[in-house]
């Protein structure tokens, strides 16, 4: 098929570009593997029942003529048309229901008859391959074995184990296994739909899918369903599955998606409208409460006015609180300035100390210089004094040191007394050097004294500043001390507080009520204002757009499927028209639209199935299924299993034309398609006897088993 998903998305995007990005659309309309699920081409497979056997015992509560009779039924069934002809209520339908039980796992037998059965064995084939289903009803709740070959005798538990494909011990398991088997064989898959949750009060939507049992309705045409072509709501699902037109799975997926969106939208809307109604009634209630409350408050206010002598006390109290505040402000201000003054004094005192230390240091230095100065000066003088004196006597031996001796010593550069070499001694007094040292020291002295003088004058200044700060501190401290004593005010405050609370106690209860009422009023006002607010948008704001998107996408895919499927649908419609006509219906044309509604042209009008006369509906229905099978056989389209069980086709339609038509049709089917299909017919219509060769005719009033 020529379908390009990306082009499809781009095409859709054109209409929704404002609301969705292309990637968003892609994710919303994600079709994944759905695109490859369908093909109208036939699998070429047919289902054929070959043999049925069952046994049991007719156990009844009340004594009947057949009570406790043993059942032991077996029947070969052949390709082509097989017919059971027996009176009504003699077991024809049960045979079909037992076959259905074997093929689907669904036991729709009447409970009392179901109870009779102990063993059911069914042999069937798909094309040439044979399979056997054995249901052992003696084992509770059930035990069913499925074999990969033909078995004609009820097998024991340990028989044919190599050929056993599965063993099911419950009906659910049996149904699931059989579904998997047939879905796989006939390329069926579960077409989905949505339905409301069966749980009461839940407005959830749940997703359901077509089972093998659903599709089996296209095989087993029960007499009770005669006036429906395709078994209720899911009929078209079966039809679509049997046709296998391209995109069927995709359309199904999107339809389910759209249903969910619609449901979600419905929920959102119903929530909003429910909320709005609830809001309105709540608001009315709150308004009424508010009016009541206002009235009560008014009454309370009047009562209060008559008893309020607390006001004077409160006024005085508030005045005092104000006074304390003012005093505290003053206190803080004075304290701050006091701290500031102390800080200033501290800074200046530290400077004072520094200057003092520095003066001391310089004085020490000056003294040292002075000492050096006077030492040098003294040395110069003393030096002169002593160097003018000459050594005359040796202090050691008291001998005179003669002039001659001294002259000799001087020329020899030795000491006149100890005769040591003194040539390298420095001259004792270098007066020139010392004089200049004196000048230096004088200068140093002067500069030190200047320094001291400067520091001393700074010291005086700093000291007077310190005194100034000290006075400032004293002044502030006096100010601080002079502040009003708040203790007195505080004790008066306490007195007042007590008096007020005493007074208030008297009205405490009414006050409590009032507070309570005011609180309640505030709450009411708040709640009313909240109710007046616009509701917050809830849920998916784009849901409407999404629904539109899905609608558009489904319509678009539907159109493609319909266009692509025209060949198949046209052929089917033609086959149906031919079959209907051969069954004696006055139908001139049949149309199948894109929603798989079938319209029958009768007397110039297009009628739907339900609009066809009741007596003609079964024929139309037969025409439909036979045509589906023919479509497969003749044109290789569709997925019908080519197996039909028709229960009582002539029951309500005593029309002679119909019976003749049916008989003719059966004969024709037998001759034309006897090798390609299998139809089991159960009828009480004795006129159909001998229409086909494979017939089981049961005498009047006799039971089939």
């Amino acid at each position: 098929m020529n379908f390009n998903y990306n082009n499809f998305i781009s095409e859709i995007h054109k209409d929704f570009a404002e609301d969705f990005h292309q990637s968003e659309i892609k994710s919303l309309l994600d079709l994944g593997t759905e695109l490859d699920k369908d093909t109208p081409l036939s699998t070429g497979k047919r289902l054929e029942v070959n043999y049925i056997a069952f046994s049991g015992k007719k156990v009844t509560e009340e004594k009947q003529e057949y009570s406790d009779q043993l059942i032991n039924y077996s029947q070969e069934i052949y390709s082509g048309v097989n017919m059971w002809i027996a009176d009504n209520l003699r077991g024809k339908s049960s045979i079909f229901k037992i076959i259905k039980f074997g093929l689907t796992g669904d036991d729709s037998l009447k409970p009392n008859i179901s109870k009779w059965l102990q063993h059911i064995l069914l042999v069937f084939s798909i094309n040439e391959k044979k399979y056997s289903v054995y249901i052992n009803k003696e084992k509770k709740p059930i035990q069913a074995s499925f074999y990969n070959k033909e078995i004609r005798i009820y097998p024991a538990d340990d028989e044919h184990l190599d050929d056993r494909l599965f063993l099911a011990t419950s009906k659910d398991e049996l149904q699931r296994q059989l579904k998997d088997f047939f879905f796989h064989q006939f390329d069926y898959y579960s077409l989905r739909w949505t339905q409301k949750s069966p749980v009461k009060e839940s407005d959830d939507l749940i997703e359901a899918g077509a089972s093998w049992l659903t599709y089996f309705k296209s095989i087993f045409l029960e007499s009770k369903d005669t006036n429906e072509l395709m078994y209720g709501a899911q009929g078209t699902k079966v039809f679509q599955m049997l046709l296998g037109l391209y995109l069927t799975s995709s359309i199904n997926k999107l339809t389910v998606g759209k249903d969910k969106l619609l449901h979600q939208k419905g929920k959102q809307q119903s929530f909003l409208s429910r909320e709005s109604t609830e809001k309105q009634s709540k608001k009315t209630e709150l308004q009424r409460e508010l009016t009541d409350l206002d009235q009560q408050l008014e009454e309370l206010a009047i009562a209060e006015k008559q008893t309020s002598n607390v006001n004077a006390l409160v006024l005085e109290y508030e005045g005092l609180v104000k006074d304390i505040d003012e005093e505290n402000t003053k206190r803080v201000a004075v304290n701050n300035s006091l701290q500031e003054a102390r800080k200033n004094k501290d800074i200046i005192d530290r400077r004072k100390q520094f200057i003092d230390d520095e003066i001391r240091r310089l004085r020490k230095e000056a003294i040292k210089t002075e000492k050096q100065y006077s030492d040098v000066k003294e040395y110069l003088e003393i030096g002169v004094f002593f160097s003018n004196l000459e050594v005359k006597t040796c202090p050691s031996c008291s001998h005179p040191v003669s002039k001659d001796k001294k002259t000799k010593a001087a020329s020899a550069h030795t000491c006149a007394l100890c005769t040591d070499d003194i040539s390298k001694d420095e001259p004792e007094v270098d007066t020139g050097n010392l004089e200049s040292k004196l000048v230096e020291l004088e200068k140093l002295k002067e500069s030190l004294e200047n320094g001291i003088g400067e520091l001393e004058s700074e010291y005086l200044m700093v000291q007077s500043k310190s005194v100034e700060y000290y006075n400032d501190i004293i002044k502030r401290e006096q100010q601080y001390g002079g502040l009003r004593d708040v203790k007195e005010i505080n004790s008066r405050l306490n007195e007042l507080q007590n008096a007020i609370s005493e007074e208030r106690k008297k009205f405490a209860s009414s006050n409590e009520t009032k507070t309570e009422m005011l609180n309640k009023k505030a709450v009411l006002n708040f709640r009313i204002s909240q109710l007046n607010e616009e509701p917050e948008p809830i849920g998916d704001q784009k849901i409407e757009k999404k629904i539109q998107l899905f609608t558009k996408a489904i319509a678009s895919l539907n159109k493609i499927r319909y266009d692509e499927g025209q060949t198949v649908l046209r052929k089917l419609a033609d086959l149906m028209t031919a079959e209907a006509q051969s069954l004696g219906l006055r139908i001139t044309e049949i149309n199948i639209n894109d929603r798989f509604d079938i319209k029958y042209k009768q007397d110039g009008d297009f009628l739907s199935f339900s609009e066809i006369a009741e007596g003609e509906q079964l024929r139309a229905k037969l025409a439909f299924y036979l045509s589906l099978i023919q479509l497969d056989i003749e044109y290789n389209y569709g997925r019908h299993s080519r197996f039909l069980m028709i229960d009582s086709p002539g029951k309500e339609e005593g029309d002679k034309n119909y019976l003749e038509g049916l008989s003719r049709l059966i004969k024709e089917l037998e001759s034309r398609f006897g090798d390609s299909l299998q139809i089991l017919i159960g009828t009480a219509e004795r006129s159909l006897e001998n229409t086909v060769k494979n017939q089981n005719v049961f005498p009047a009033q006799s039971f089939v088993f």
Partner: protein, 217 residues
């Protein structure tokens, strides 16, 4: 020899000579007609020297007198005030070490020097331990001439002369041992341990001065 050492040497020579000169008594002997004055005891030299070198101790000694003798108070007040006004305790201080018997400094070199230039004569006796005792120092006529001739012309020596006169005035009659006893009364002096310098006592002096004269130094 550094300048400082030289200064010390000359100072010591001068001081010791002046002590001998000012604190000696007239003397005459036929054996040594050149000796005109005599000074007895080395201890006395040491104790007087201590007073010259420590104006604060001198002030203290003066205050002791002032305390006891009312008549001398105002004079002493002036003197002590002057000592401190001129910062003498700092400027004139020359520390002395404490020895076994109080402040002491070896003056043998000085004495020998003075002897060599014929300024003084020296005599002593040896005791049983062969120690020189009963030291006597004689001032020569030559020294007296020289001193009178030149020393007065040297202005910076004036302070020493005045100081010697002052000490002589108040303590001239005291023997070395007596001076020693009075010095030992001073706590700082007494507590100084052997071979350590004797510390200054200006604070004590200031306190005592205030106590006596109700005036701050």
């Amino acid at each position: 020899m550094s300048l400082e050492e030289r200064v010390r040497t000359y100072k010591d020579r001068l001081r010791i000579f002046l002590i001998l000169f000012y604190f000696s008594e007239n003397y005459s002997s036929s054996e040594h007609p050149e000796f005109k004055r005599v000074f007895k005891s080395e201890v006395r030299i040491q104790k007087i020297d201590f007073l010259i070198r420590n104006p604060d101790y001198l002030a203290h000694e003066l205050l002791v007198i002032a305390e006891n003798e009312l008549s001398k108070r105002s004079e002493i007040q002036k003197l002590v005030k002057g000592i401190y006004a001129d910062s003498e305790p700092q400027l004139r201080r020359l520390e002395m070490e404490r020895f076994f018997f109080g402040a002491y400094e070896d003056i043998d070199d000085v004495i020998l020097f003075l002897q060599s230039i014929n300024f003084i004569g020296f005599s002593s006796k040896k005791n049983t331990d062969l120690k020189n005792i009963e030291k006597q120092y004689f001032i020569t006529e030559y020294a007296i001439e020289k001193t009178e001739e030149s020393i007065k012309a040297l202005p910076s020596l004036n302070w020493y002369i005045k100081r010697c006169e002052l000490i002589k005035k108040y303590f001239g009659t005291l023997l070395g041992s007596q001076l020693k006893v009075s010095q030992y009364k001073i706590e700082e002096y007494r507590n100084t341990s052997f071979k350590n310098f004797i510390g200054e006592i200006s604070e004590t002096v200031a306190k005592d001065y205030y106590k006596i004269f109700n005036e701050r130094l």
